[in-house]
Symmetry: C2
Subunit: 233 residues, 2 copies
């Protein structure tokens, strides 16, 4: 199979949501400009203050969007799974990036120059609506996060983070084990607490039989309890 038709296969199968919104000329434009890049575990995809150039599409793996804060503290803002798009916000705002993206594990990503995306949006209202909707959903999420991360106590924040991991990456075949294996430090960076407190609170949850912990494998035993802790104390 030619490189091009392989690419077409990859793109048309994987970009499902966006792909269906395009006409044949637009599809050709994508094929001509789409590039695949592979990233190793923990490799940085782009960094805060960089100028945005590409629309990124996660094809395989896991990616975190994060912001480095005060005293080396890092806040994870969003997590991506295949097939999701990111990296476009800063371009649309005419700003440099305010956050960084890195591969959580070995990942494969596609790029499309934002100038191409811009042209396509100009001529495709469905595409415009796709981005308007994505931006709107993200903005609602960030506004909500401002309140939960500042007002919830540690246990509530950790419970919320675990629920986010469930919703984002789901379970292994057993229907219990989280399908993501992250360092305690990343759990902490997700839920706005120190690594010590993430470890401590995970242990507490384990003791209370809400979860079990085996290294980085986290099993959700009592999801209802988790949601209750996330919502209230």
């Amino acid at each position: 199979m030619s490189i091009k038709s392989t690419l077409e296969k990859v793109i048309s199968e994987d970009l499902a949501e966006l792909w269906s919104l395009l006409n044949s000329e637009e599809k050709r434009q994508i094929l001509d400009n789409f590039e695949i890049h592979n990233f190793k575990k923990n490799q940085i995809i782009y960094a805060e203050k960089d100028d945005p150039v590409y629309l990124w599409c996660l094809l395989k793996g896991k990616v975190k969007l994060y912001k480095d804060g005060i005293g080396g503290r890092q806040q994870i803002l969003r997590l991506y799974r295949p097939i999701q798009y990111f990296g476009y916000r800063a371009y649309f705002a005419h700003e440099p990036y305010v956050s960084s993206a890195s591969a959580f594990e070995a990942s494969s990503l596609g790029t499309l120059p934002m100038d191409v995306v811009k042209n396509m949006i100009d001529n495709n209202r469905d595409l415009a609506w796709f981005f308007i909707r994505e931006l709107s959903k993200n903005l609602g999420g960030s506004d909500t996060k401002i309140v939960t991360l500042t007002q919830k106590h540690i246990r509530g924040r950790l419970a919320e983070a675990l629920i986010l991991l469930i919703d984002n990456y789901g379970f292994e075949e057993d229907g219990k084990t989280l399908k993501i294996y992250m360092a305690r430090e990343d759990v902490a960076n997700l839920s706005n607490m120190t690594t010590s407190n993430a470890i401590r609170t995970l242990s507490a949850f384990a003791q209370e039989r809400i979860i079990t912990v085996d290294g980085r494998r986290i099993k959700i035993v009592d999801e209802a309890k988790l949601r209750q802790i996330s919502k209230f104390g």
Copy 2:
């Protein structure tokens, strides 16, 4: 002057930014659907969980967008001044509102049904870009706020809030006095702290000759120092 031509005057003068993007048919559509509403001080414009129906345009006054959190604690997310638009995010996300809006002082607002806005976006790419850009700027701001509100200490958060007030509402004729007079409680809700601590820290800033405080009149004496405190300790 007829009601309609008065309205046209109000709209064409005040909606400047959006108005210039429209053709005459679109302008007619706005004139037919635009309504003016007046709100008293502290009156709620819409509330969290409501379904979004209108695009709101602040014509006169000041509006806060906020979210009620845990234990009666409120977080102010954004502040609006004339002429700014809000209330569209939830509609675009196909969600109920996740935050509430209320008038900070007696205010005058215009409404346009979101269904009308949607139709206009469908046929006007500049209008689409207007909202894409606004959403993108807001999302960058919210993502940044997540980090500053969780990681900065009280003094840094208050300094940042005061700078936000400068940038949003500016100064009186003296070039020093903030052009907004808000209760200590709102200052606290803007900077994620208790009312007591807002009062305490304002007093501390006054003692350090960074600001002067006379009731709700706040004079910025040393803006450079304020920016330094916001950035670092």
